[in-house]
Structure formats: C-alpha cells, structure tokens
Symmetry: D2
Subunit: 143 residues, 4 copies
C-alpha cells in the first residue's frame, strides 16, 4: 500500500467557540473524518464496508490538546492503525498546523460489528476488510 | 388539550462561536428540540411515532435572527402548528429571552412518511397521530 | 473575477441522523462553508475581513430540502450574491449531488458590522471589501 | 456544600447518527454541559467566572463507551472533581440510563487561565473560585 498523505482540513467557522478557538469536541469529529479519509485512500471506503454490513463503532476516544487552533487555519491529521488483530484495533492521531506545530494528539479504539451489532472477526469472515486494516497497520509501523 | 408552556432551554457553551454569540445554525436544532418537546407535552412522544413507523421529515426551515443570544442566557421557545391537513403542516417558532425580548422567529414545514419514505395521510391511517396534531393546531389558533 | 467552481464537500458521518440521512441543520452550516470558500476563491478570505474588523452576521437563513443526502456522497454547492448595496446582501445556494440532482436550495441574508457590532457601509469605509462583493454579485448575474 | 443531583439530559434527535445511536462525539459535549451544571448548582456559574476574566480550557478529554444511548432516552450524568490544586484539576464523569445502566464514563483535565491565556493560581488570585472547586472536590471524596 502506498503511503497516505495526512488528511488536510480547513477549520470551519461554526467549529469555533466564544474563546475564539476550535471547540475541543470537534477534534473527536476530525478523528472520524481522518479515519474515513484513510480508508478511502486505502481503497476501501467506509460507506462500502457499511453496505457490506460491517460497522466499526468507537469503544473509546481521547484527545490531548496542545495548542489552540483558530479559524483561518488548515490542519493536517495523520492516523496510525495499531494493535489490529482482526476484531479490535486502536488508531493514533496527530493534528498539526501548517508550520508543523503539534496541535493535538489522540486515540480511538474500535471493534468490528455486523448489522445485528454482533462482534465480527474480519480475518475469517471479511478477508477484504482484514487486508486493508492489516495494510494500514503495517504502514503505521513503517512511519 | 391543556396549554403547553414554552420550551425552556439553556444555551450550551459549545453552541457559541468566535463572535461570542450562539451560532445561527443552532436555532434550527432548537426548533427541532421544541417540536419534540411539544409532542411529548401533548402526550405523543416522537420516539413513539417512530416506533409506530411514522417520521416527520423537514421539507423547509427558516429563521430570522433579531437579537443575539449569549452563553449564560436561557431562551423560551414557543411552537405553533399551522395548516395541518393530515399529511402536511407548518410550524412557527418564536425564541424569546428571559426578559421577553424576541431573539428570533422561524418556520419549518413537514410531511409525514412511513419507513419506506412513502407519504402518509394520518387522518386515514394513524388517527392517534392525526388527533394530536389537530389538537396542537387548534391550540395555536387560541393563542 | 474568474468563474468560481462549486464548493465540493464530502458528507461527514457525524452529519447523519437516525433517519440515515444528513440532518437538515447541517445544510445551514454547509452554506457558511460555501460563503467562506467563495470569499477565499475571490481572493479575500473571511479571516482577513475579521482581522480588519469586519464581520458579516446572518440576518436570516432558509433551506428547502428536495432530496436526501447520504453518507458516502459528495455535494457541490454554488453561491450567488444578490442585492449587494454595500451594507446588505442576500446569497442564494444550490446543493447538487454528483449526478447533478438538486438536493436543496436556500438563502441567507447578511449585513456588515464592525467589532462594536455597528453597521458598516463598505463602499465608503472598506473599498476592498466592497469590490470583492461587487465582483461576486456581478458574477452571479452572468451565471 | 449540599449534594448535587446528577445532570439530567434528554437525547436530542440531531445527536443521533445513521447507526441509530447517539454519535460518540456528543458525549464530550455532554461532559461540558455537566461541568457547567455543577458549577451553577454550586452557586458559581461559569458565565460569572468568564465575566470575572477566568476561563477553564480543556487540556485533555476521554470517553469510554459502554452501552449505546438512543433517541427517546434520558441520561443522568455525574461529575467528580479530582486533584484540584488551585490551578489544575481532573473531572470524572459517569453517564447512566434511566435504569441505572452505565452508558459511558470519561475524564477531562483542565487548567485555569485569564483573558490573556496566562495560567492563574486561583488560591491566590481568585479565592471565590478556589473555594467552589475545593468544595466540589471534597464532595467527590464523600461520594
């Protein structure tokens, strides 16, 4: 799998709050956008996974805020898939400004479920999905 | 049907933007909260309608912003059901501050659909739902 | 001023609701993103206007929903500046899907204020800002 | 300080996503609502702190999702102030359903800053604010 460029994202005005900076809850949404961007870049869009009956709910999410982000800025977010074993994984995120300053980092953990919300072992039942996450996981190791 | 008190709503910090006031998009969400509050007050919660297979999508929405709302304020929102004919309706909203100042007014229009997104005539198929909206419509006329 | 391409926008997962479609309130946010995109494309970013002390609050907003938008779709949004007279204007929006289907249209109206929230006549006080909106207004006439 | 009842919060329709459950990002917003509710219950609203020039930005936030929350539900959220030393603190949250089921728990960490975003030691400069957080911290120990 080719290296994936960071997810580039302009700040929206409605994402700011009265402190004049991006509200902290939006980073959790940016992490989701970043996951979805990486899956599309890896050739397996999340909408296609859902069409095939697989969802990847969030088991936990965290974010550490280092430097405020303001309207007018563009951020660059990388995701690294970790500890993927076919039915669980963690994803690490780093949010950087245009000058390379780290704005925030974070982590989400996930499982894989079908439409009945039953846990799915992708290595047995969904080899295509297993392959794309294995590829993302290996790519993270190389970074 | 008894008169329904206005929907009372504190402003959330995350609803403000860098102008220091509530972002205009949130009023459209407040209108939704107000509709749902009125239905519950009228004895027929929207979650029950959905369980029975009826959804009330928004066909159009508009809001006129008169005076800014800031964090720390509580707003009081009234809804008036208009032009309900069993399968279409309009709802008018007025957002007031604690001192009675009008902050905004607006309107949404709706239809009634089933789970297949087919239009539903509630007067024939869902008399309980027809009755609650007829009641809300009559109440509006009395205000 | 050169023609500005429509604003291209992927749907975010967190913008959907339990009906499985984009929640109607998000279109109002997309309109804001579109305004800001057009200003940047016209060479005068909104963040620069704010730095110069000018804000363009929303006086009214409306949206007519024609066809649902779902996760996985990309929408293309055009904005047309109308009735700009130096201190007031209207902007019309059309949201289209990838196949050209109209998903929604809408309108926002605006005034121009300074940091004290006083109305500003841009033609006298801010000729650079006046020029960019005049250009956008003329471009709309040509479309 | 009297015991503070959990923060009671209805789920909003616009907080759901296409999985049919509350989107995970909203819990971070609920935590903020809960903080603000506790401060008001403790007699020192956050809007008053801001008026006095103090802000309490979020340094980190995390949430562990245990059981999905759906539209129609009401959640009850408790906050426990921990490790408050005058200029830093942590707050733990538990989100429960109406039947007592734990839906999620989480944590946010904070510092105290003035309008210039300089760190503030509340014990020296803002004894009223110091007192309210000391009270909340002691209350947590008693729970």
């Amino acid at each position: 799998m080719d290296k994936i460029l960071p997810f580039e994202r302009k700040v929206n005005y409605y994402e700011t709050d009265k402190m004049g900076i991006v509200h902290h809850s939006n980073y959790i949404r940016w992490f989701e956008e970043t996951r979805i961007y990486y899956l599309e870049a890896a050739g397996y869009p999340y909408s296609r996974m859902e069409d095939e009956g697989i969802m990847i709910p969030v088991l936990s999410a965290e974010c550490n805020y280092k430097n405020a982000v303001t309207f007018g800025e563009t951020v660059y977010i990388t995701a690294q898939v970790q500890k993927f074993n076919g039915f669980r994984m963690e994803i690490l995120y780093t949010v950087k400004g245009g000058d390379g300053t780290v704005k925030a980092d974070g982590m989400t953990s996930h499982c894989f479920v079908n439409k009945d919300m039953k846990l799915v072992r992708t290595n047995k039942e969904y080899p295509g999905i297993y392959k794309v996450f294995t590829g993302l996981c290996e790519m993270s190791g190389q970074q």
